[in-house]
């Protein structure tokens, strides 16, 4: 085929040529000198103008596939077999100069972290113009194009944005700029690698809306990599499910999500807490085990080690591609008709009823950081009670003060004078260092990132034994005995106890971290996004474990998360934070029925749904204001869609209880809010 720059000729020219065709790609990474296979025969095609999504857990090779599409691979990567064609051009054997031209014109990529993709020392304008200059535009043309590109990605004030430096823009705004740059060359293929993973749900929603709009304008094919299944469902025409370097199921997004045909996909979808399921309804379905390490020999089915349906055939015969529908929905499985046997296998729900006796109480807890002589109030007078056996979910965008609240409670930060934290009625010292052992034992934490939370130089046994000894003061022998007990409760084996964190999978590491938090029999455990670094298949097992531990020990949780499905599943009550204040708090069911604070309303509307529910999004304009200089009146008034001028910007509302422990910080009376929200829903 001949390549032409004539835009007119393009659609017909590429109509039969896929934008991207990866065929039987085998790729290995050299680790410590040994090549280890990551892609084991990956094949898929993205048609021109189509949006194709790749899903799978981390390590399955989806990002490697995305980078391979540009042949933008680390030095230790070796392509051993297969081909990659972009717009009909084979790129595995392409010369470097041709490859550069291809990257400049035919294919663009948007990375996960917009901050890392921009040069921090150049103005936005300069960097955007550079992209246009690269495709042959003159300086003045490039400047005009840059401005146009900003308008195209719906940046309201293009001139001022172009004049700023990357650090002066928010993550969402920066990602818009990156997308504008990626689209500059009007590429045949746009690769998006987890484009919204680092962003808040509210910003994520905006960026996804933008990408969807732009797709219709530019006609570029999209390859979207995301671990968030909801994102893939709302964005893509077709999806491929990847496991251990192989696409194991493919089809239209709706078919795959509503009617999965591979045991892995089916398991993955039923492991997500969705459709409003609560811990009191049922335990979540969890796929046992983890992804095999890279380089493992997987001669037949790649999923065999974790599949409950695996039998002799699976062990000896490579599963064929089985067509499941006319629309091209296929699966790589011997037993696609037996999927009913695997799902919904866990009926044991949690039943722990919070008795209402308060374990932890925060009275007027505030935290002000000092920075260059300025006061930055990160937490403003928080009052909270957490009961025995209760889970209090804490949600809010980043910068809302959730983590500060958790760390102040734990004594990592000392609270400001005037506030008080009590455990079982006993006031405790502000800083962890000055707390008595009993107070330390009462409160422990499960961190977001298990890699960071566990000392990689220690064995699991040592981590647990030390914690038990330090918190309970028992002898070494007694501590060792308790380690065994504890490990059993966390479904960790003796073999795991002898290992170091690096040798464990993410899920196992988080089990160790949870075991450590429970080592001293705590009253309350603070969980800071404990599953957000994990894959959904593993998340389910961790949430089940947390729920089970709570039933057994009547432990209370302060559970921080941004995942509405997770918080709904696990929490008895939910608190919504904004700019260091609690904006709304109430029992979980009440929170989802309304009336809601306008901020809660917007947060709840921003979640991309795996169920394909009709979407209506309340936009949250702008960014979270800086706590150093909060807005006057109600701190949320600058972004509120129910803002009343002359009221909300003048005085700050109180947190008012509207009955049943449901409290809102809003000037609009609860019944009016409810009426307005019902009217909005009806109007859609």
């Amino acid at each position: 085929m001949t390549v032409t720059d004539d835009a007119q000729a393009r659609p017909t020219d590429t109509a039969e040529t896929p934008a991207l065709r990866i065929d039987n790609l085998h790729l290995a990474y050299k680790v410590r000198g040994v090549p280890r296979e990551v892609l084991r025969g990956t094949s898929f095609e993205v048609a021109p103008g189509e949006a194709y999504g790749l899903v799978g857990e981390s390590g399955c090779g989806k990002s490697t596939s995305a980078y391979a599409a540009m042949r933008y691979l680390p030095e230790n990567a070796v392509i051993t077999e297969g081909s990659i064609e972009v717009a009909g051009k084979e790129i595995t054997t392409m010369s470097n100069s041709d490859l550069r031209k291809l990257r400049a014109r035919d294919i663009s990529m948007v990375y996960q972290d917009p901050v890392a993709s921009m040069n921090p020392s150049l103005r936005i304008g300069q960097q955007v113009e550079e992209v246009f200059a690269l495709i042959g535009q003159s300086k003045s043309e490039a400047a005009a194009s840059a401005r146009k590109a900003m308008v195209q990605v719906q940046i309201a004030d293009p001139d001022s944005v172009l004049d700023r430096y990357p650090h002066q823009l928010s993550g969402g705004m920066l990602q818009r700029v990156v997308i504008a740059m990626a689209l500059a060359s009007d590429p045949t293929l746009l690769v998006l690698d987890e484009p919204t993973t680092g962003l808040d749900a509210t910003v994520e929603a905006e960026v996804l809306d933008l990408v969807r709009d732009l797709r219709h304008q530019t006609n570029a094919a999209v390859l979207l990599i995301a671990h968030n299944l909801g994102v893939i469902r709302t964005m893509c025409d077709r999806v491929g499910v990847m496991y251990a370097g192989k696409v194991i199921e493919e089809g239209n997004a709706i078919d795959v999500f509503d009617n999965p045909q591979h045991p892995y996909t089916a398991g993955l979808l039923s492991s997500i807490p969705r459709k409003g399921v609560r811990k009191t309804d049922r335990a979540l379905f969890a796929i046992e085990g983890g992804l095999p390490p890279i380089g493992t020999e997987l001669p037949t089915c790649v999923f065999i080690d974790r599949c409950v349906l695996a039998d002799e055939t699976c062990r000896t015969v490579v599963p064929p591609i089985v067509q499941r529908s006319e629309a091209g929905h296929w699966t790589r499985c011997h037993h696609p008709d037996r999927l009913d046997e695997i799902v919904e296998a866990e009926p044991d729900a949690v039943d722990v009823v919070p008795t209402g006796e308060t374990v932890v109480e925060l009275k007027g807890v505030a935290k002000t950081f000092k920075q260059k002589g300025r006061d930055i109030p990160a937490l403003v007078s928080v009052d909270l009670k957490i009961g025995a056996g209760e889970t209090l979910g804490l949600v809010g965008e980043s910068g809302s003060g959730k983590s500060t609240l958790a760390k102040t409670l734990l004594g990592v930060h000392s609270l400001d004078e005037g506030g008080e934290i009590t455990i079982n009625g006993r006031t405790i010292a502000p800083a962890a260092e000055s707390r008595i052992p009993k107070s330390l034992t009462a409160m422990q934490m499960v961190f977001q990132n298990p890699d960071s939370a566990l000392n990689s130089a220690w064995t699991v046994r040592r981590i647990l034994r030390r914690t038990i000894r330090k918190l309970t003061g028992v002898t070494k022998e007694e501590a060792d005995r308790r380690v065994d007990e504890l490990a059993e409760g966390m479904q960790l084996t003796q073999r795991h106890l002898g290992m170091r964190p690096r040798q464990l999978s993410g899920g196992l590491k988080q089990r160790v971290a949870i075991a450590r938090a429970f080592a001293g029999d705590p009253e309350i455990v603070v969980c800071d996004e404990p599953t957000s670094a994990l894959d959904v298949s593993v998340q389910a097992a961790i949430l089940n474990l947390l729920a089970k531990l709570q039933t057994d020990d009547r432990t209370s949780y302060l559970f921080i998360t941004h995942d509405i499905g997770v918080v709904r599943y696990l929490s008895d009550r939910i608190a919504v934070m904004y700019l260091g204040r609690i904006m709304e708090i109430g029992e979980t069911d009440v929170m989802f029925d309304g009336p809601n604070h306008p901020y809660t309303e917007a947060l709840l509307s921003a979640v991309p749904s795996v169920d394909g529910a009709a979407e209506y999004r309340i936009p949250l304009d702008g960014d979270v204001p800086t706590p150093a200089n909060p807005p006057s009146g109600c701190v949320f008034h600058t972004r509120c869609h129910r803002f009343i001028k002359g009221v909300c910007d003048v005085s700050e509302p109180e947190l008012i209880d509207i009955g049943g422990g449901h409290a809102l910080r809003c000037h609009i009376p609860a019944d009016e809010l409810l009426a307005a929200q019902r009217a909005d829903v009806a109007a859609r």
Binding site: V31, E433, Q444, A453, N455, S456, L471, R500, R516
Partner: protein, 305 residues
């Protein structure tokens, strides 16, 4: 004679033997080290010099401290060019250059190792405190470190030997003190990265003391940095010691074999075409430093792969 002497453990994790995967990882890392020509080459050279330092008399036929006399009682002569008897020729006093080069390995290697090890120990302690404690103590020590770093090593050597004396202990101490801030700064940045990790927060939340957190929690995680730092510092110490010797700042006994001092004593004969008495000790210094650096570089690269 070509005994493989592993002067430097292959990697910081070498102590560890738990778990088969870990063993495999270590084996792979060792294999990678030895598959690097730079590492093998460096190891051979260092092994040779270690052998010289350990058993100098195995290789030499003459007393390095005295005018060389053959078994027949014959003098080799002054400034004799390299020949069958004196492979590297003789110097201005008629001593065998080869014997002196071989015998010179021991003092410089022992001293360089001692100085580097002292600097690494002191620097690690300081680096741990600075990186973990932060705040005013870090500010204070950082200023000290910067002040020290701005001092020219040789100038301080001259001043210190002039005021304190030229004994071997003093020289080792000076080099160690001058290297400590450099090590401290490197270790500090590694420690600082570790101190931000949640396992440190977790240790605080169970009431561990700062001492325990630094020594038991953080230290094992920065050993890779320390091993590389030690190797690099040994190379620098060799160079610094040779320079100080060349300037005549390290003791006055000219009979003792010393590469730096020999170069100082002989280089003025270079214009007379008497190159061997200068070039061979100089080559000895150069090969040893290059070899140690090759090893350090490879370890660093393998640690990061």
């Amino acid at each position: 004679m070509t005994i493989e002497v592993p002067e430097v453990p292959p990697a910081a994790t070498a102590i560890d033997i738990a778990g088969a995967e870990r063993k495999t990882a270590r084996r792979e890392r060792t294999k990678l080290l030895f598959s690097s020509p730079a590492f093998v080459f460096g190891s051979f050279i260092v092994a040779f010099w270690v052998f010289c330092a350990a058993f100098p008399s195995v290789l030499t036929r003459f007393d390095p401290r005295d005018t060389a006399v053959t078994d027949d009682g014959e003098l080799l002569g002054f400034h004799t060019s390299p020949n069958g008897n004196a492979w590297f020729g003789t110097d201005s006093v008629g001593r065998d250059v080869f014997s002196r080069v071989v015998a010179g390995a021991r003092p410089i290697m022992v001293d360089a190792f001692a100085a580097a090890a002292l600097a690494v120990i002191a620097g690690t302690v300081l680096g741990l405190i600075m990186g973990y404690k932060r705040g005013w103590i870090d500010e204070l020590l950082s200023r000290f470190v910067e002040a020290f770093l701005s001092l020219p090593v040789i100038l301080i050597g001259v001043l210190a030997t002039a005021t304190i004396g030229k004994s071997r202990i003093v020289i080792i101490a000076i080099v160690a003190v001058l290297f400590t801030p450099i090590v401290a700064r490197t270790v500090r940045s590694s420690v600082s990265a570790q101190a931000d990790l949640d396992y440190v927060t977790s240790a605080r939340l169970r009431g561990e003391s700062s001492m325990y957190i630094m020594a038991r929690e953080i230290f094992p995680n920065v050993t890779a940095t320390i091993v590389v730092e030690l190797t690099v510092r040994i190379a620098y110490a060799i160079f610094t010691l040779a320079t100080l010797a060349f300037l005549g700042l390290t003791g006055s006994d000219l009979a003792l074999p010393d590469w730096g001092k020999d170069i100082a004593a002989e280089f003025r004969f270079l214009p007379n075409d008497t190159w061997w008495s200068t070039i061979f000790p100089a080559l000895a210094i150069a090969t040893l430093i290059v070899a140690v650096n090759l090893i350090a570089d490879t370890i660093d690269r393998v640690n990061k792969s």
